[in-house]
Symmetry: C2
Subunit: 138 residues, 2 copies
Amino acid sequence: MSDLLERLRDRGWRLTAQRRVVAEVLDGDHVHYTADEVHARATDRLPEIARATVYNTLSELVALGEVLEVSTDGRAKRYDPNARHTHQHLVCSRCGTIRDVHPTGDPLAALPENERYGFAIADATVTYRGVCPNCTGS
Amino acid sequence: MSDLLERLRDRGWRLTAQRRVVAEVLDGDHVHYTADEVHARATDRLPEIARATVYNTLSELVALGEVLEVSTDGRAKRYDPNARHTHQHLVCSRCGTIRDVHPTGDPLAALPENERYGFAIADATVTYRGVCPNCTGS
DNA sequence: AGCCTACATTGGACATTGTCCAAGTCAAGA
DNA sequence: TCTTGACTTGGACAATGTCCAATGTAGGCT
């Protein structure tokens, strides 16, 4: 993530304090914050950053392919900075924790031609659901 | 779906006109309506049915395992009456059309033990995305 | 270094989707 | 047919996301 800002500037992005802070908040492994969580963490560093700016910046990062949008629960979308290595998600059905996982094989290959209804299929996402170790005992 | 109401009555469900109408709206193949779409169609048959009743009924059908909740786009949840045969979804990235599909193999088997982080995994859902034949030319 | 200006940010109104609750209604057993 | 507890209603509220006019500023130009 450290060179993300450089890459974006090369693509014509203006480097503002707000965008820098949003990018910093998203830095890390297994990060899957909602827009409001990003906003809360960004506010710690830049108190007056607007909610709309966080939404705008996240949408731009998604459009540029630098961040993935994940909706595992039909509630708020989550933002995953690990867009450069394809992966899938493992979600705890109790607490909502999300981990990035790497299944073997290609799920696309599992869909027979006669089940494709003439679609030009671009990708497949897999969501595993279960109970995480922290929640098992409760 | 025709005997759904019988099954539910056997489980102690009160058979009201509203619930009957919601069940009728959900009858069919490749049906994936949002709650508001269900409400609109239900209103055609029973003009004064309340939105809250539709939400209640859909939640109950999901809790009873008779209907699946699908969130493919992070917007409104969709309701899939085909809960009795496991299947996955193929979504058009332009128009949002959804088809039920049946990939071969078990996606669970593709997740290695060292990628499970101690979770007790219960299931895996796969979403295929692509452009449908209707949208290909546009 | 200072100016310009197109692009970015702000804050608040608005939209969409979903939840909750108190009051009224009704399905179905006795 | 009566009764009662479950169901429905309508509207207020909550959570998440979008839009826009006014204001601010990054970065190129001189």
